[in-house]
Amino acid sequence: MWNRRKEEEAPRTGSPLSGSPLPGPVAPMEGMPVSTTPTGYQAARNTATIGENVLIAGQIFAKEDLVIDGQIDGTIELLEHKVTIGKAARVKATVKAREVVIHGTVHGNVEASDKIDLRRDAHLVGDIRAARIAIEDGAIFKGSIDVTKVEVPKAAPRPATSAAPTQTPVAATNSQQAMAAGAGEQKR
């Protein structure tokens, strides 16, 4: 009975987003250029993943949820979505999202229009600002906490035609909704 239920819940496609605990490389899948390692953060179908062995320097914008297990140096903006920063992640960036869940290490300011969730393994150095903040015992935090309603501007609609051919997608997904651009120098 229990086994049958688990089988029913198991994803049928064998996608790397299925949360398989097995470590190691995963065969590249079409439309998922930055996901190299499966993640254990229950990534859903409409969630982009930046794998453990991926390093991105630049700006990341996404129009869907994002799980980060790699190394990011720059800015992360998911104004209407949730970003999960995994245990293995090393993020040196300003993070703006609807919801931010941190399991790993972040150096930079974090702003959420809804909620910031610091889990027990989180190590955050930076100022945080959100309407709601949840902190698990064991989380390490250094910075200021501002619990306030954050007005996040809605993401500007992108033109249908490819107006920016120089941009390099770094967090695209199957549905190609995610947008990422501008790997390059960051402004601090």
């Binding site: 610091l118 015992d137 935090f141 250094k142 906490i145």
Partner: protein, 201 residues
Amino acid sequence: MSPSAAEGTIRPSAGLEQYFQQLQGRPTLRLLDLSPVSQANVSFLAGLGHRLYCEDFLSSLDDFFGGDDDFYQAQENPTRAQEFMNLTFRQLQGPFHGALVWDCLQYLSPTMLELTVTELHRLLEPESFLLAFFHNDERAKSVPASYYRIQDYRTLSIQERGRRTPYQFFTNPFIERVFRDFSSVKMYLTRDHLREILIKR
């Protein structure tokens, strides 16, 4: 005192009560909390409309000077002590309208104690208050370092985070000497060998 397995010891705190009386009617203050970040303190202080700055001072000390036998000896190195001060306090954008120092000052060597109190004096706005705790069991070789979580205006949850050996025992006259640059020092005795000190900048 009423013990609670999950939350440590819960007890009233006269120092905390007085501290919050001073903040009463002053919303959106900037407060410095030198304990590890906790949901209880964030929820309570943010609920009052204050902005909180968290710095786990004791963990930073351990990380920088090591938690071993050379802990206090390392703190007495003036260059290292100043380096720690720069890393910990210089980046803070004061002034703060209050500070919750808890029991951190007990684990500082004389050099570090002097530097830390000077920094707190610099960071705090005139007329603001600082709450610090000192164990008053003179004979104890080690004392419990604790997490202090605010339950309400006058109640604290105190949970041990390990035992430590203070560098020195803090008598009342010594505490007054340490905070000689501040305008007043009030002391509250408790039943659990933990003196609560409310210091006015």
